[in-house]
Amino acid sequence: MTKTPSFLLAGALLCAPALAQTGPHAWPEPADVTRTIGELSAHEGVERIWLGTTGAGHDLEALRFGPDGRASNHPAILVVGNVTGDRLAGTAVALGIAAELASGSDAATALLDAATVYVIPSANPDAAALRFATPLEHTVETGDDRDTDRDGLSGEDGPADVNGDGLVTWMRVPDPAGTYIADPHDPRLNVEADATRGERGMWRLVREGFDADGDGTIAEDRARDAQVNKNFPAGYTAHTAAGGIYGGSERTTRALMDFALLHPELALVLTLDAQDTLVSTPKPGQGSSGRVPTGKVMSGDAKLLEALGRHFGEHVENAPKADSLVAGSFQRWLYEQRGVLTLDSALWDLPKGAPEPDEEEAEEVLEEASEKVMDELAELGYVEFEKAEVDMLGELGYVDDTADEEMVVEEVEADKPWRKPGDAHEQLEWVDASGESWRFVDWQSFDHPTLGLVEIGGWAPYAEVEPPADALPGLIEGHFAFLASLGELLPRVEIASFEATHLGKDLWRIEARIENPALLPVVTDAASRARTSTRARVDLYLPEGASLIVGHPVGFVNRLNGLGRTGSDGELEWLVTTTDIDAVRLGVTTRNAGAAEAAITRTEDR
């Protein structure tokens, strides 16, 4: 067991009033996020930043951590929670990280020495707010409404809670033309019938809803369609419902982009959302080095991500794999068009298979189970069994209420060896074993007003993306530790040498070498391609009366690759006449790797 970090107390408090509808979670509502941001910003060295108003009128806010008055080109890391909108755990982890950053702990102080950290805990508050709606529907669509079914009406027939259980789930609609049957491994799951093996579909699987517009199709034209994290103009596809009316048409999208544009000092972005560049590090694909970005990571950047992914693995266990550089996403826009490496963590996905309990725990469970069975039997008026007898009954299979099902499954397996249990089957096993029964709604018959008898049930809203509440402390701790480890990797500019050699009379040859001793480059491959303004500017300051014979007072270093890569071009030289060589100074400034100044040193006269 890891020690619970102190900041979690704050996190738990802020989450307390916001009990979600289904799971045992306590996710922060938009108002909680706003309040917590307010509270944290009261700490020294914490600043509250307003990014804009979302389409639904929520405030989009960030926190800045770092000493006041620090130069704006000090390297910075941006932490972003829940861009997609259904990843409230991302917000909870981001707030946990923010609380730790405000705590003044040694780890926080060390990180904030190296980097300014911005945190946008809830990047998509409009979608996050829908997590607390009644009825509850798993929703990431919050933006521009489209007439999806082209009937001239918009949003007239969206998903709905038909059976009044407070949840929008799924419907099995009996239909001879349907393609689904029950999964023989677990009849709660749906699988497509394989006609080539003699199976016949029995139902259609549709979103729970009415046919509100009477066109014979269920829930085909929802009230809102555009998704924030498909609306960024990177790999954007026009004329899709999810993408919105044009790239960047959503207010949230633009506010997030504007924030990134205002902060060229961002050297890294850590997203706590639905994508992953840290577990399954993206590989540079064909065309990744072309002029037009294609959704592939460039080869030099891929090596850096691989290294950062190894760091991540040291701090965060069991992080799931997920897609990266998804079309239309903030993550892809940041990387391809701002040239910022995005470190994406998908936080959690549904585990597969029942966890194997350790022996001690297993005994406890058995003990409890035996007692429970005895109590039940007693309640039913049976004679009181000795505990040993109950155990024996268990061994014989009498009190194992899953025995019948297992038998059926075995038969199926014998009958249809070609049909293997799928991921969902193993995920349900985990749900059953973990006691998180809210995640799956058992199918219930319901007399649908237009469809007749249907079954309603299936995966509950958010069941597949929300970690159990007890996973949160570990997620916060691991991700904070990873974040803290990034400080020393950030690019920083240094003047390795700045020397003058006397050539005769008042003539001096001046040479300078600029370096970046960190792992990460000042300019990533993607930034180099996107020509974002991140190259280092070198200013030579001459005393009065001095003349520049060769060179310019302003120069640039295009590549300062750091340790992660070779091939920097940080060497510059000038010829100067002056009678006061000791007064010559050099300044180097960058947009995301700080600045450096140096006084000149003399070499031996030639």
Binding site: D151, A238, G247
Partner: protein, 591 residues
């Protein structure tokens, strides 16, 4: 009607100054002696509002001209400020339509703008000219009258008022001030707009610098005309070098004029094959990044009645259509027919102009304005590049060589367009010479050719506007079906060139489909009657048969027939509604 006509003719000789005949539609047509209506016939005509069409003017005067029209023609035109430019100048969209029961929103509208590139100024005048010409001819010309009655115009004289005013009031070349004025770090040195060109000699123009370097140069002066620089051949040495535009190195980086005001291209920032800045210069950080373009995009999205788009640029004599980029693929064939018809007519109206495809015949443009208005919004859209130097010598006796350009300037403008080379002591290069053609030579016409350019382009806009869709109930027909049912066939026609729904709009599901509704009779089924001789092939529609969404609308210069199968006879009220035409209602007895 006939007796009224002869009466008017009779009186015509008695009161020549004010009389006109009335045509059957109520339009007053001036008689031979009347000078009302400035209709393109020159004899004794005088417009109500005299405007000098031989000048190009700044924002203030451009708007003042529009305001003058508002005042002279009450009820026809108004404007709204849809946003402001970077420097706070108003972006005024003028709405022009004849007063009446229907507001502009209920009519198909033609959008016309100019001057998205600040230096391409004459588009602004072309917008004003179009409004002026239509107003002057309303009630004097049947086509102008019909157009303003059934359609509206949204007119934005300049998309880039900052760039326009800078071009007029500050020193520039013919090509500078193309950008807007939001500061951009063009040379990526951390400073913004710190090193633009300078009017070193203070003559109001940015021209060129040359330096005499005997035996070290790569240019010679033309033997006949020392104003002309001639590049020496390979292996030869000249006595002159060209040093580029007037200016010096303000920021100490060894380069001159590399980071001037702005430094972007508002015609690359629109959705529709938008590409990031490093792929497409000037695009901005995301679509509609520049505030002027954002304001316009919002206007378009809130005005789905816009059914035609014309954008005016300079120069080169082109009628351009998309795609801007080869990557887009091609446009649907049905829409290409509309484009080709208008484009080819336009070529005849605009001598020396060529109807061209942007990416194929000019160059690739990602994120172009008219690409968005068609590819994103499904509106037939053109860009005209106003002015081509061939107009200086239409019969081709003068070519486009520098010597010929000097000849034209010397003889047709008494040398007004050229700043003769003169000596200047440059802080970096020492003694140089400064000189060259002024900013208003090359991309804008000389005064005496401005009006022709404006008129021909305005006529092209009117041609396009007249092509915007209108719908009529062409005929209805009923016939008996077995079982006491009635087949009721309704034929809709669109006599204009542009369909009520472009093929692209239908294909991509842009906007709202048209809708045909029938009230007053019970409808049991409905479908499209594609072959009147084979009614059993009716293409049945799903959903409510009395209210049919019609994604493909009514084709241009075509018809569509819908058959309703009715349970009963009676009085039917038919309504056809849509975004880009005047909705029509028709009451008919089904018997």
């Amino acid at each position: 009607m006939k007796s009224l006509l002869s009466f008017a003719l009779l009186l015509g000789g008695l009161a020549p100054a004010t009389l006109a005949v009335q045509d059957p539609s109520g339009v007053m047509i001036p008689t031979g002696d009347s000078n009302e209506g400035f209709n393109g016939l020159g004899a004794m005509r005088a417009p109500k509002v005299e405007m000098p069409w031989n000048r190009l003017v700044d924002m203030q005067e451009l708007y003042a001209r529009m305001d003058q029209l508002i005042e002279a023609y009450p009820g026809f035109m108004s404007y709204e400020v849809i946003g402001t430019s970077v420097e706070g100048r108003e972006l005024r969209v003028y709405t022009l339509t004849a007063p009446g029961e229907l507001g502009a929103d209920a009519k198909p509208a033609m959008w016309i703008d100019g001057n998205i590139h600040g230096n391409e100024v004459q588009g602004g005048e072309a917008v004003v000219y179009t409004a002026w010409y239509l107003l002057e001819n309303y009630k004097h010309n049947a086509r102008a009258t019909d157009l303003l009655d059934r359609a509206a115009f949204y007119l934005l004289p300049s998309i880039n008022p900052d760039g326009r005013d800078s071009w007029f009031h500050e020193a520039h070349t013919a090509s500078s001030s193309r950008t807007g004025v939001m500061p951009v770090d063009s040379d990526r040195d951390g400073l913004f707009d710190e090193d633009g060109p300078e009017d070193l000699d203070g003559d109001g123009s940015i021209t060129s610098m040359r330096k005499y370097m005997p035996g070290e140069g790569n240019y010679e002066l033309d033997a006949d005309d020392p104003r002309i620089m001639v590049r020496v051949g390979a292996g030869e040495v000249g006595d002159w070098v060209l040093l580029g535009r007037e200016g010096y190195d303000n920021d100490g980086d060894g380069r001159s004029g590399e980071d001037g005001v702005g430094g972007y291209d508002m015609n690359r920032s629109w959705e529709g094959t938008w590409m990031p800045e490093h792929v497409q210069f000037g695009a901005g950080a995301y679509p509609f990044y520049w505030p002027e373009t954002r304001a316009i995009s919002e206007f378009f999205l809130s005005h789905p009645n816009i059914a035609g788009v014309q954008s005016f640029h300079n120069s080169g004599g082109m009628i351009l259509r998309g795609p801007g980029a080869e990557e887009y693929g091609s446009y649907p064939r049905a829409d290409l027919r509309v484009y080709d018809t208008l484009g080819e007519e336009g070529e005849k109206m605009l001598p020396f102009y060529r109807y061209m495809i942007i990416w194929r015949d000019l160059y690739s443009v990602f994120g172009g304005q008219v690409n968005w208005t068609y590819e994103g919004l499904g509106i037939i859209s053109f860009t005209n590049e106003l002015w081509t130097s061939e107009r200086m010598s239409p019969d081709g006796r003068l070519g486009n060589s520098t010597a010929d350009r000097h000849w034209a300037d010397d003889n047709l403008m008494l040398g007004a367009g050229f700043v003769d080379w003169h000596s200047f002591d440059h802080p970096e290069y020492g003694e140089v010479e400064i000189g060259g053609f002024r900013k208003d030579v090359g991309r804008v016409p000389p005064t005496f050719l401005i009006e022709e350019m404006l008129h021909r382009n305005a006529m092209f806009c009117i041609l396009h506007a007249e092509a915007m869709p209108s719908v009529e109930f062409l005929r209805t027909r009923s016939s008996a079906l077995p079982g006491g049912l009635t087949a009721f066939d309704v034929t809709l026609a669109n006599p204009r060139k542009i369909p009520t729904r472009t093929a692209l709009a239908a294909q991509k599901g842009i906007g709202v489909p048209d809708r045909l509704t029938i009230d007053g009779v019970e409808v049991l089924a409905a479908g499209y009657l594609t072959d009147p001789l084979r009614p059993e092939r009716l293409q049945l529609v799903d959903g409510d048969p009395a209210s049919i969404p019609m994604e493909r609308g009514v084709p241009g210069q075509g018809e569509v027939t819908v058959r309703f199968i009715l349970a009963e006879k009676g009085t039917a009220t038919l309504t056809y509604s849509g975004e880009k035409f005047v909705d029509q209602t028709h009451e008919v007895e089904v018997d």
